[in-house]
Amino acid sequence: MCVYSRFASAASLVVTVAGWLLAAPGALALDLLDGNIQVHGFASLTLVNTSDNNFFGRSDDRISKDYSEVGLNASWRLMPDLQVSAQVLSHRAGGTDDGQVRLDYGLLDWTALSSEEGRGGIRLGRVKAAYGLYNRTRDVPFTRPSIVLPQSIYFERTRNLTVAADGADLYAERFGDSGTLSASFIYGQPQTDTEAAEVALVGLNRPGHLDSNPAPDFQIMYDGSGGLYRLALTTARLKLRYKPGVGDRLQAGEFKLTPVILSAQYNAEDWSLTSEYAFRRTSVSDFGPFFYNSKADGRSYYIQGTYRLTPQWEALLRYDVYYADINDRQGTKFAAATGQPGFTRFAKDWTVGVRFDVTPQFMLRLEAHRVDGTGFLPVQDNPDSRALRQYWNNVMLQASFRF
């Protein structure tokens, strides 16, 4: 009932926004105070169908409607060098997110120094985490290359750990003749207060809870020739402690995650080529005998081509690979230790897709995935590991609006 009413409210918002846009095609956005206050938003609905396994709700041999995004943001330029902005987001994603409205970001941005050569400043509050090329706008359909971002790097399962942090973002940019060099250092508290983040790490129905230390996150990026090519290096360090609950089989264990991501993108007029490679070192320790304590050297990478056939049509082709542990690629050791299928430790995903921009505000996307392995599937949607299948297909259709 609750889920249906949420779906209905999301759908009615989409319809309202659509109606409003059709009624007033000139009004792209809400500008107040001579453009110093800007209000923007987006909404998307996605239908998901899989041949086996569940992705974003119950999609196995049926159509799931449990993936939607609705966001609304406002920014106010108080002074030329001072801006406040905030965005609220409802993100429904099968069993991992019920669509509860959250503050996605809410920050004060002070550009303390600026000249024709560069700028530097600080953002305070809930800031979006720098993590590869797409993380900062990962829930905004128009900024993504596909319906779902490559799951080897932008996990839906553990998104709350990397989506934003409560703290500070120190940034500096240098505008050079050949390109812009920028650096961002974020220090803040990741969001571990949601069940989804916990389940992804410790599993379903645990009585205890996870706490995180404030985490550092650093990104350096080079934007060459006005975005012709972009190169980036991101690194972060997350440390999470488990506090066991009453009658808990798990002990006070610790997770340490230290991802390093290399990103490269080339943008020609009609096509783009993008690749990212992540080294994900994870250490799981002190959880006791009823847990898979281990050190793993995870690897992820994808290569993606997009081609703009016309200004309205874009085609996508991508190969995306995830290994939970490069020293146990097929999950053989994991299977022997846990009795779980080895193919839950990797995923190789071939994706083809098309994007059709019906208007600048309304976009349709169709996407097909052929996947070997279930490494990125959340347990909430697939509670019985015996029901998982190694080879599966996934077809998605998405409609999104923005203003």
Binding site: Q38, S75, R123, S225, Y307, Y391
Partner: protein, 156 residues
């Protein structure tokens, strides 16, 4: 059986990639050959402190990264719609940035709380009058249509 299918699928995808790459080369050549676009120049409010600017600074301004002119006047950026020929010509020939790249850069900033969009004006005459009447304003115009009320910014 299933791995065999996967191999066939991958092989056919490889063929598709090769075809795409071939297809990509043709329009890229054609696009490079056409350069008969109208001559577009950057224009600013007449009180702007200098009459020349580096391309890097201009890119930063139109990328909505630079908040003020030297001397602390707030910068106010005006553009035409993305599909206006003058916008495409200015982006490609003066900024040397593809218009869709500019749009992506604005989107990335606006939807992560890091910046705002430039103000979109409906026509070239409106662009000229808004830039002429707004202190700190910057925009662009056809070189043949520039009047006394705005200052032309030369690229250093």
């Amino acid at each position: 059986m299933r791995p065999l299918l996967a191999i066939k699928f991958i092989t056919s995808l490889r063929h598709a990639v090769l075809l795409c790459m071939l297809a990509v080369c043709l329009p890229a050549r054609v696009a490079a050959a056409e350069s008969a676009e109208p001559a577009i120049v950057a224009i600013a409010h007449p009180a702007t402190s200098s009459d020349s600017i580096s391309r890097a600074s201009l890119r930063a301004i139109f990328g909505m990264l630079l908040p003020t002119w030297p001397g602390d006047t707030p910068i106010k950026v005006f553009v035409l719609r993305d599909d206006a020929p003058e916008h495409a010509a200015f982006s490609k020939t003066v900024l040397q940035v593809f218009p869709h790249q500019l749009r992506m850069a604005w989107d990335r900033q606006v939807f992560s709380g890091q910046g705002q969009y430039p103000e979109v004006v409906a026509s070239m005459p409106e662009m000229l009058s808004r830039v002429a009447s707004t202190p700190g304003a910057i925009g662009y115009a056809k070189a043949s249509e520039v009047n006394q009320n705005v200052r032309v910014l030369k690229i250093r």
